[in-house]
């Protein structure tokens, strides 16, 4: 495994542990934690703290028959939801939670202009989670951001004004960052990108293309 240099901010890990992270960013956190032992450890530490607080907080009495009803269900097969389902499995370069969103099939890329391809995984109002395919050496147009955008590299690498990002690395961009990510020469770059607002492109042509790109 290559060395991961750019991590999920600790505040976001705490928010994921506590269930108060915006839905858009949950997949990036889950994907990064799947690849990064340091962030997994940090997440489990936040859960330890959450558990300690839960243990000491005053509880709410439960219905007297709930235990009996639960005991009666112990021998039934577990219901298929997140509390009981197994952890997701990796598919090729796609970490478990992304593989699950892809239903364990390769992405169905759609051209997004300039040789860039994408597949939208989740879209909800002004938030989206998508996969981006950037051919080696290609630049993604200059853009700023409304709100926050997380970009995690799954294959290849890109660099911009802030640094270089390889597999597992996460770039956190907010409204203060206007950048031009360029995929490294060689291997094409595949990223998982989550944004909580439409990107604001700086030059006119890409802005016209924005409705088609849906980014």
């Amino acid at each position: 495994m290559t060395q991961i240099a750019h991590h999920i901010p600790d505040e976001m890990l705490a928010a994921y542990a506590a269930g108060r992270l915006p839905a858009t960013f949950e997949m990036v956190v889950a994907a990064h934690v799947s690849m990064c032992d340091a962030c997994r450890a940090a997440l489990e530490t936040h859960e330890t703290l959450g558990g300690a607080l839960m243990e000491e907080a005053p509880g709410e009495a439960v219905d007297g028959s709930l235990l009996e009803r639960t005991l009666a269900m112990l021998d039934e097969a577990p219901a298929p939801h997140a509390a009981s389902r197994g952890a997701p499995k990796r598919f090729g370069i796609y970490p478990g939670p992304v593989a699950e969103a892809l239903k364990h099939a390769p992405p169905r890329w759609r051209a997004a202009g300039g040789g860039v391809k994408q597949q939208i995984l989740v879209e909800d109002g002004k938030s989206s989670v998508r996969l981006l395919y950037i051919p080696g050496g290609m630049a993604v147009p200059d853009h700023g951001h409304h709100g926050t955008e997380l970009t995690m590299v799954l294959q290849g690498a890109f660099h911009d004004e802030t640094g270089r990002f390889g597999p597992g690395d996460v770039e956190v961009a907010d409204e203060s960052l206007e950048h031009t990510p360029i995929a490294d020469e060689g291997m094409d770059c595949i990223c998982l990108a989550a944004t909580d607002a439409r990107l604001r492109f700086l030059s006119l042509l890409p802005r016209l293309a924005q409705p088609f790109l849906r980014i």
Partner: protein, 188 residues
């Protein structure tokens, strides 16, 4: 587990291991009596009604039974493990496509006993609780709301000036330990 190690375990850990290793229903009932009201309390703090919260409590306790083989007392306290299961279920209900979860680290089920790491975690958790107990009430309230209630990002940002150094150093220590542990797991 030898009798000697047994003495060092909290009641909750002993119950959980009895559920995991002996499928002990009486131990499960004890876990239920201890955690069900606490999980319900957390869910209701986050805005759930009593009946909906009890449905989730039942899902969570059933998951505790079914996933018991994955419980590793050297890596998680019972409370933290159940806290995670409860959050996953609660968020899962709120999301149309379910909650994206991380992959698990491949381990044996049940995980191999590691008394040294178990003791270290127990000791650290004890210190974490002591640190929590020493907080001023308003600091304690912020932390509690961040992990048990629905404190927004903005509110947390406003509160970051609070002197929570002790808590943070505990978290860092925990991080360090867990990181080494995970590295060991990976290299096995």
């Amino acid at each position: 587990m030898s009798a000697e190690q047994d003495q060092e375990l909290t009641e909750q850990t002993s119950w959980m291991l009895a559920v995991r290793d002996q499928r002990d229903r009486q131990a499960f009932a004890r876990l239920f009596a201890f955690y069900a009201p606490r999980v319900k309390g957390v869910l209701m703090r986050s805005g759930m009604g009593s009946a909906a919260a009890e449905d989730v409590v039942q899902d969570v306790m059933l998951a505790v039974w079914h996933k018991a083989a994955q419980f590793d007392p050297a890596r998680a306290q019972v409370s933290g493990w159940i806290y995670r299961i409860a959050r996953n279920r609660q968020v899962d209900i709120a999301r149309k496509a379910g909650r994206p979860l991380p992959e698990e680290v491949e381990t044996e089920t049940p995980p191999e006993a590691d008394p040294g790491a178990l003791m270290a975690l127990a000791e650290e958790s004890g210190k974490l609780r002591q640190a929590l107990a020493k907080l001023k009430p308003e600091q304690r309230e912020v932390i509690t709301r961040a992990y048990l209630g629905d404190l927004t990002h903005g509110e947390i940002r406003e509160q970051t000036g609070l002197p929570l150094g002790t808590i943070k150093s505990r978290i860092r220590l925990g991080l360090e330990r867990l990181r080494h542990e995970l590295k060991d797991l990976r290299s096995e």
